[in-house]
């Protein structure tokens, strides 16, 4: 297992390097010069073009692109992601403040979507070809067809603005001591919006794989032994069906991350998504690059984590 993990980690390094090369190239296509962008035009006319040229030389901006990339990579590996051009903080700190809210939201969404997806999937498999089953299929289509931001706006309109049950935005009430109920009230709406879209594929999968096992020998044997129907479903059919859900969750991490960008913006959630949008409007390329890098690492790690959990969940799987 340890050796397998090490090998997997080593394999992901070229992928990460590939992503950073692409990112570096894209960001360097950006118009504008980093030296003149930070100065006001008045100062610049005093300093003259020679000074700008000197600064460019000093900052290494006249080096060829591949050399600059290698220097950037060297700094990045040491944890230095550069400075945000907007709030003048180190990028690593700016992102560090924002990564936990996003992770908190994502984990809540994963829990909601797995619980809801499995429960509804089992129910619609047990009630195959009933009204409930068709309704669930339709709702599954609906949740992947409704834009998350629109569902979010509807929820804000109904539950925050009309009924005034839940706070519309933010992660906690400012100026009040943090409490679990307050945090919960803030996370319900964004997590529900994202969770519904994520639950749909899990529900479809659970339903299909449960229906697949109905004709299997071991289910017939369980039934012949006189087990209760609920024991058969939970203890025999479902057990085997559940393991691949780990893979579904892991494969959906990119779409979940993409979803959080928009949903964080709707609910003013102080995470990486709102940071990404504000750095686009502020043209803060260092922060954008940092976010891209963190997202890439998060996705590679989630795939790796899925493999590890898989090995624990299914004893037949052995990684050499």
């Amino acid at each position: 297992m340890g050796r397998y993990l090490l090998r997997r980690l080593l394999i992901s390094i070229p992928v990460l390097i590939g992503i950073t090369i692409a990112m570096y190239a894209i960001v360097n296509l950006a118009p504008g010069d980093p030296v003149t962008a930070l100065l006001n035009p008045e100062q610049m006319s005093n300093l003259g073009p020679e000074w700008v040229e000197e600064q460019r030389q000093a900052l290494g901006l006249n080096d060829p692109l591949p050399l600059r990339y290698l220097k950037w990579l060297g700094e990045t590996v040491q944890g230095n992601l550069g400075y945000s051009t907007v709030d003048r903080q180190p990028v690593a700190e700016t992102i560090g403040d924002r990564i936990w809210p996003t992770l908190k939201l994502m984990l809540t969404v994963i829990v909601i979507s797995v619980v809801a997806g499995i429960t509804l999937g089992v129910l619609s498999a047990l009630k195959q070809h009933t009204f409930f089953d068709y309704l669930m299929t339709f709702l599954g289509f609906l949740t992947v067809s409704i834009p998350g931001f629109f569902l979010g706006l509807i929820l804000i309109y109904v539950f925050a603005l009309r009924l005034d049950w839940l706070p519309a935005t933010g992660m906690y009430t400012l100026g009040q001591p943090r409490s679990f109920t307050d945090d919960l009230a803030h996370i319900i709406m964004p997590a529900t919006v994202l969770g519904l879209a994520q639950a749909a594929p899990i529900m479809r999968y659970t339903r299909a794989s449960l229906l697949d096992t109905i004709g299997q020998d071991y289910v017939t044997v369980a039934r012949a032994k006189g087990l209760k129907e609920s024991r058969i479903v939970v203890g025999h059919s479902l057990r085997n069906a559940l393991i691949p859900i780990i893979t579904i969750v892991a494969l959906n991490v990119p779409s979940l991350l993409g979803g959080t960008v928009v949903i964080e913006q709707v609910f003013a959630w102080p995470g990486m998504g709102t940071l990404a949008i504000s750095s686009v409007t502020g043209r803060d390329y260092n922060v954008l690059m940092g976010i891209n890098l963190i997202v890439a690492i998060m996705i590679l790690l989630s795939n790796l984590l899925a493999d590890v959990i898989y090995a624990f969940a299914d004893p037949r799987i052995k990684y050499a």
Binding site: M23, V27, L29, A30, A276, L288, I299
Partner: protein, 299 residues
């Protein structure tokens, strides 16, 4: 295998298969009621998109400060927005924009995906490895994050949105086409046409690619729905189609202000419903097409 065998195969198998196939495709599709409903809805939306200038009651960009933020009246069926523009007319014109973005973006990536998938599957080796690893990386990265990074550099516009979605969407199509090449290359009918001296392009375009059209059509149908959702999200964030051009997403952009959200539901509910209706219709249509066209998925 001799040429005679090839001819018999073609005579007894292929031709009746096709005639029978066409009948079953339509009857299978018809049986999927939601798919038929989806097709009808899309027909109506495409009609609205094409004939927007003829059926829209007002000029979508005519600013009128005299009657801004007006609730629905008989003159303005869906009211007016913060600049006094007629919301119904803007939604009709937006239909044209949002559907075009979806169709053009998907057309771009179907072409790229078919070419790259074909090249990878036909040539194999390191060409295949490079193309497919690139596809893996793109697939595993959230599209919207790449798109907002690129858009922040090249600037938001309707053209850039189409282009970026088009350039990032090809991996599923490429995988599909490549898979079709790999399974079909060793098949008897391909070997047969090779043995009678058919050229590579003839084998690719006449024998292998036609087999991939069904999954490509199904995939592209779902892709249009995805592209419409992406465009709506980007325009909602202000990074997609730029005003005054109306798209469903950028009309919703106004709802980011809670005063407008609370007091003017006629402004943001209708464009949102248009997105839901069109994406739902396309997804049902795609589901029906898959059931009807794909014999492997037939139950």
């Amino acid at each position: 295998m001799s040429t005679a065998d090839v001819r018999t195969l073609g005579a007894t198998d292929a031709i009746p298969e096709r005639r029978r196939g066409q009948r079953t495709v339509w009857s299978l599709f018809r049986r999927h009621r939601l798919a038929v409903a989806g097709m009808v809805v899309m027909g109506i939306l495409i009609f609205i998109g094409i004939f927007a200038p003829l059926i829209a009651p007002h000029d979508p960009n005519a600013v009128s400060l005299a009657n801004f933020r007006e609730p629905p009246t008989s003159e303005h069926l869906l009211g007016t927005d913060a600049q006094g523009r007629d919301v119904l007319s803007r939604i009709m014109y937006a239909t044209r924009i949002s559907l075009s973005v979806g169709l053009v973006a998907v057309a771009i990536y179907v072409v790229i995906g078919t070419v790259l998938g074909g090249v990878a599957g036909f040539f194999g080796g390191w060409v295949d490895s490079i193309i497919m690893r690139l596809a893996d990386v793109i697939l595993s990265f959230p599209a919207i994050i790449v798109i907002i990074t690129v858009v922040s550099i090249i600037g938001p516009s309707i053209f850039n949105v189409m282009l970026v979605i088009g350039l990032l969407g090809w991996p599923p199509i490429a995988r599909l086409v490549r898979g079709e090449f790999l399974t079909l290359r060793g098949r008897d009918f391909v070997t047969a046409s090779e043995s009678i001296g058919a050229s590579s392009p003839r084998i690719i375009f006449r024998h292998i690619l036609p087999n991939a059209t069904t999954p490509i059509i199904v995939n592209a149908t779902f892709g249009v729905a995805q592209a419409i959702l992406l465009e709506a999200g980007l325009s909602f964030l202000g990074l997609g189609v730029q005003p005054p051009t109306a798209s469903w997403g950028n009309i919703l952009n106004a709802a980011q202000s809670f005063t407008l959200l609370e007091e003017m539901p006629w402004l943001w509910l209708p464009p949102g419903f248009m997105i839901v209706i069109s994406v739902l219709a396309i997804n049902f249509l795609g589901d029906g097409l898959r059931d009807a066209l794909d014999p492997r998925a037939r139950r």
